[in-house]
Amino acid sequence: MMWIELWVNGSERVAEVRPDETLLELLRDGLGLRGAKNACSEGECGACTVLLDGVPIDACIYAAPACAGRAVTTVEGLAHADGELTPLQRAFVDTGAVQCGFCTPGFLLTLHALLAENPTPTEEEVRRAMVGNICRCTGYAHILDAVAQVAGVKE
């Protein structure tokens, strides 16, 4: 076991982790942040997506010790401090982008990173950005609508 310090959703956290512990295990079991989901444990489905220093990663295959000194953003850290949803979260609610919702946290973080880099993506760019996130319910169209609502996506 080893101690690491990291920033999670803007707060400094100290955690004791195993050398082989994944970031997802640390978040869900160690820190009680259950928003990121484990659906495949192999980095295929993106349900565990979080931001590491602003970059989307699959937390289920990312080593927790490697996060020492770095900043992690989970779905719990997206809404503003006063609890107000981000425009993208609000758009997910409004457009029907959420059905069972198990993939939703991962999609939100992937798309949050996309929009930070490219505030007005084309629909093709949005589709490509989401290719590491699987949604089994929606067929993706309402998720595209959600992005379009906040980003004014170009045809």
Partner: protein, 765 residues
């Protein structure tokens, strides 16, 4: 207040889901909770000779280790009691539970599972339906004759055939022998994994002789009954508490981990959490069955369909699960959309040493409609007829009967489906250009009639509490639809209807989220419950205003004297008055759809004899084949669907878009290949789910012919959008490459083989 029906209303759980605070089955954590897992058979057929658990027990932290020798391992099951808790002493499929272990930590659990030693004698495995049906086949269940149905139902079954449906009106042979043309086809379909993102999980507690199970399940009352039966306790000894469901699509209707979690909780005295790894989940989910469909048509010289032989053999896997019911579905796949004079139907569900198959959205309809619609395209090509014209000529009309004798009073809607699709894009205008093609497919589907209930209570702040055992699997049927239907009864906003999560101790029985039943069946129960609440509201207001109840009306979240809006009480004020006038206001409603008339003698082995509240569907797919690699791109996808009444447009379009995406996966990318009784695909890495770049936006046309016996006319919506997809896509691919497509999924290898050596291909303009 304007009506909330037909409007975009937000799901009540959406905000929690986007915040990451929604509590799914895998998120349940209880004080003192320990971890459980199953030791699953690595072989598909074997006899267990010995289980050496000594080393496993020595692992620090191990709390319980249970095998078939430690419990009453009597067989139970959904349709037939043929499935023991543990594969002991006989293992019948790879992945079958042989032992259940609980430990303080996941690490000691893993170690104990590694050290558990099970000695097998392997047996020859029956791995496909053809060998299962051979006369000298080894029986998967030598004791098949001793099994009984929990409902007492009986049907024809023998040896490896777990159910045989047979419908023969007579005279079919004569029609074939005198027909101008006979066209015969054999179609195959592989299995499909539901691939919900939340794997099966369960947390069980045992306290004072009762079990509490925390699950994310489509059918909590079935969990209650199945766990009670397997453990030999009364149903009231089991309480099932529902949490948010991370997708189900039919795979969360039967029990999975729940009975084992309950056993381990009782053995340890601690809450026990179990969760499938993705590989365990994929290997053991009750996926859509593989099948072989043989269809022959007898045709007149001008192409009239005079007779049909429809023979289906499907793989039930090692246990029956729901196969005896599914064996009836072929009766609704042929002769429902298109008129055929004489049709003989035979369907056999067959045991093999493979993972049991079960319910997946659209069940066997997906491959049965594929077979029927591919066959029609073949008939059209053989006789030189236009594919659309052939279909239009045979469409059922109002008042005609399906093979089961059930009258389709509104079958003219089929014609409207074809007309409306033509308005979106004329069929003859699509699929033009090299390696492009177009296909169409239609179906009639049901709205599941099974029972449901609801209790409404008028809260003291004027909001409505909705208590129901109905589950929202993600469709929005509870979190949008039922809230809207309740709100409509009181003229309030849907946000003023608060809905509970399912709890079998609290709510009345509900038959689960299956067959698009929730909005219709539970919606009717909600309306009945609301009528009781409204009656109390009117009675209290009548006392208050000293006016006859008939002169009062419930509008806009209050009750008022008709025509005198100033003489008005809000619902909150009525709730307060109720405290001293009869007590708190509640109402209860129940409903199940009566079965339509059908002919009970039309078939034997007919356990699912009618299609209540039928809906009508036409799908059109336009595709482009990449001739160098054999892949398929879907260019356009059009759905015309009869829904009765759009309760929530976001929900309807979401169900159709999502159902089509799953159907595209089934047709093109989701391969679940069984080899020697083992799946080749074990993870999401090898199982090809549709991605964001694969699925086009579906063009949706909804038809609204309200059903007078439905809540505001609403019929089932969620299940059928997957049903005709593989058929429409396969017809489009066949059109694109100018060759038959006879298997689902449509593999690039098959397309390349059909195209032949490059340059030799004449396809296609």
């Amino acid at each position: 207040m304007t009506s909330v029906l037909g409007r975009r209303v937000t799901r009540s759980d959406a905000e929690a889901k986007v915040r990451g605070s929604a509590d799914y089955g895998v998120d349940v954590v209880l004080p003192g909770m320990v971890y459980g897992a199953l030791w699953r058979s690595p072989v598909p057929a074997a006899r267990v000779v010995a289980i050496d658990s000594e080393a496993a027990w020595r692992v620090p932290g191990v709390l319980a280790l249970i095998t078939g020798a430690d419990v009453d391992n009597h067989p139970t099951g959904l349709a037939l009691c043929d499935q023991p808790l543990f594969g002991w002493p006989v293992v019948r499929y790879e992945g079958e539970p042989v032992a259940a272990v609980a430990a303080e930590t996941p690490e000691s659990l893993e170690k104990a599972l590694d050290l558990l030693h099970v000695e097998f004698v392997e047996r020859p495995a029956i791995t496909d339906v053809t060998s299962a049906l051979s006369p000298d086949a080894v029986l998967v269940h030598p004791d098949w004759a001793s099994y009984a149905s929990p409902s007492g139902a009986e049907w024809p079954r023998e040896g490896n055939v777990v159910c045989e449906l047979l419908s023969d009106p007579g005279g079919v042979g004569e029609v074939f022998s005198s027909a101008a043309h006979v066209v015969r086809d054999v179609y195959r379909a592989d299995r499909q994994y539901q691939a919900y993102l939340e794997p099966h999980a369960a947390v069980a507690e045992y306290n004072s002789g009762r079990f509490t199970l925390h699950v994310a399940h489509q059918f909590p009352f079935n969990v209650r009954d199945r766990v009670a039966h397997a453990l030999g306790v009364g149903a009231s000894a089991v309480r099932v508490v529902g949490h948010h469901i991370g997708g189900g699509f039919g795979a969360k209707l039967d029990v999975a981990l729940e009975p084992y979690a309950a056993l381990l909780a009782r053995a340890t005295g601690r809450p026990v959490r179990m969760e499938n790894s993705r590989s365990e989940d994929l290997m053991t989910a009750q996926c859509r069955e593989s099948a072989v469909v043989t269809i022959s048509s007898a045709l007149s010289a001008s192409g009239d369909m005079l007779g049909c032989e429809f023979d289906v053999v499907f793989d039930s896997g090692a246990y029956a699960i729901d196969a005896p019911y599914l064996a009836s579905i072929p009766m609704f796949a042929v002769g429902s959309v298109y008129r055929v004079d004489r049709t003989r139907v035979r369907c056999r569900a067959v045991y093999t040493n493979t993972a049991p198959t079960g319910a997946f959205r659209g069940v066997s309809g997906t491959y049965l409609v594929f077979a029927v619609e591919r066959h029609l395209d073949h008939v059209a090509r053989e006789l030189g007829l236009d594919r659309r014209e052939l279909r239009l000529r045979h469409l059922r009309r109002n008042g005609e009967k399906m093979l089961n004798g059930q009258t389709l009073a509104d079958a003219d809607i089929l014609r409207e489906c074809f007309d409306r699709a033509e308005e979106v894009a004329p069929f003859s205008s699509l699929g033009k250009g090299p390696y492009r093609g177009v296909g169409m497919a239609a179906c009639v589907w049901l709205t599941n009639p099974l029972a449901g209930s609801a209790v409404l209570k008028l809260n003291e702040d004027g909001t409505i509490g909705l208590v129901t055992g109905a589950t929202d699997n993600g469709s929005g049927a509870v979190t949008m639809g039922l809230r809207q239907i309740a709100a409509e009864e009181f003229g309030i906003g849907a946000s003023d209807v608060l809905v509970t999560m399912p709890d079998t101790d609290v709510a009345g029985y509900d038959a689960g989220s299956q067959g698009s039943r929730t909005t219709r069946v539970v919606g009717m129960a909600v309306i009945a419950a609301a009528a009781q609440v409204r009656e109390r509201v009117l009675s209290i207001a009548s006392d208050h205003f000293e006016a006859a109840a008939a002169d009062l009306e419930v509008v806009d979240g209050g009750v008022q004297v008709r025509g005198v809006p100033s003489r008005r009480l809000t619902l909150a004020e009525v709730a307060k008055l109720a405290a001293s006038n009869g007590g708190p206001i509640t109402g209860a409603g129940s409903y199940s759809t009566p079965l339509p008339n059908y002919s009970p003698t039309c078939a034997t082995g007919f356990l699912f004899p009618a299609f209540p509240t039928p809906t009508y569907h036409l799908h059109v797919a336009e595709v482009e084949v990449e001739p160098l690699v054999g892949t398929v791109r879907v260019l356009r996808y059009i759905v015309v669907q009869e829904v009765g009444r759009v309760v929530n447009p976001t929900g309807v379009v979401g169900q159709i878009q999502g159902g089509v995406a799953q159907g595209l996966g089934y047709a093109l990318w989701e391969w679940l290949e069984s080899e020697g009784g083992r799946y080749r695909q074990r993870t999401f890495e090898s199982y090809g789910l549709p991605l964001s770049v694969d699925v086009p936006r579906v063009e949706v046309v909804t038809l609204e012919h309200g059903d007078s016996d439905s809540p505001h006319g609403a019929k089932g919506v969620g299940e059928p959008p997957i049903v005709p997809v593989a058929a429409a896509v396969a017809n489009a691919v066949s059109d694109a490459i100018g060759a038959e497509v006879d298997a689902i999924p449509i593999r690039p290898e098959a397309i390349l083989e059909a195209l032949g050596p490059l340059g030799a291909s004449e396809h296609r303009e």
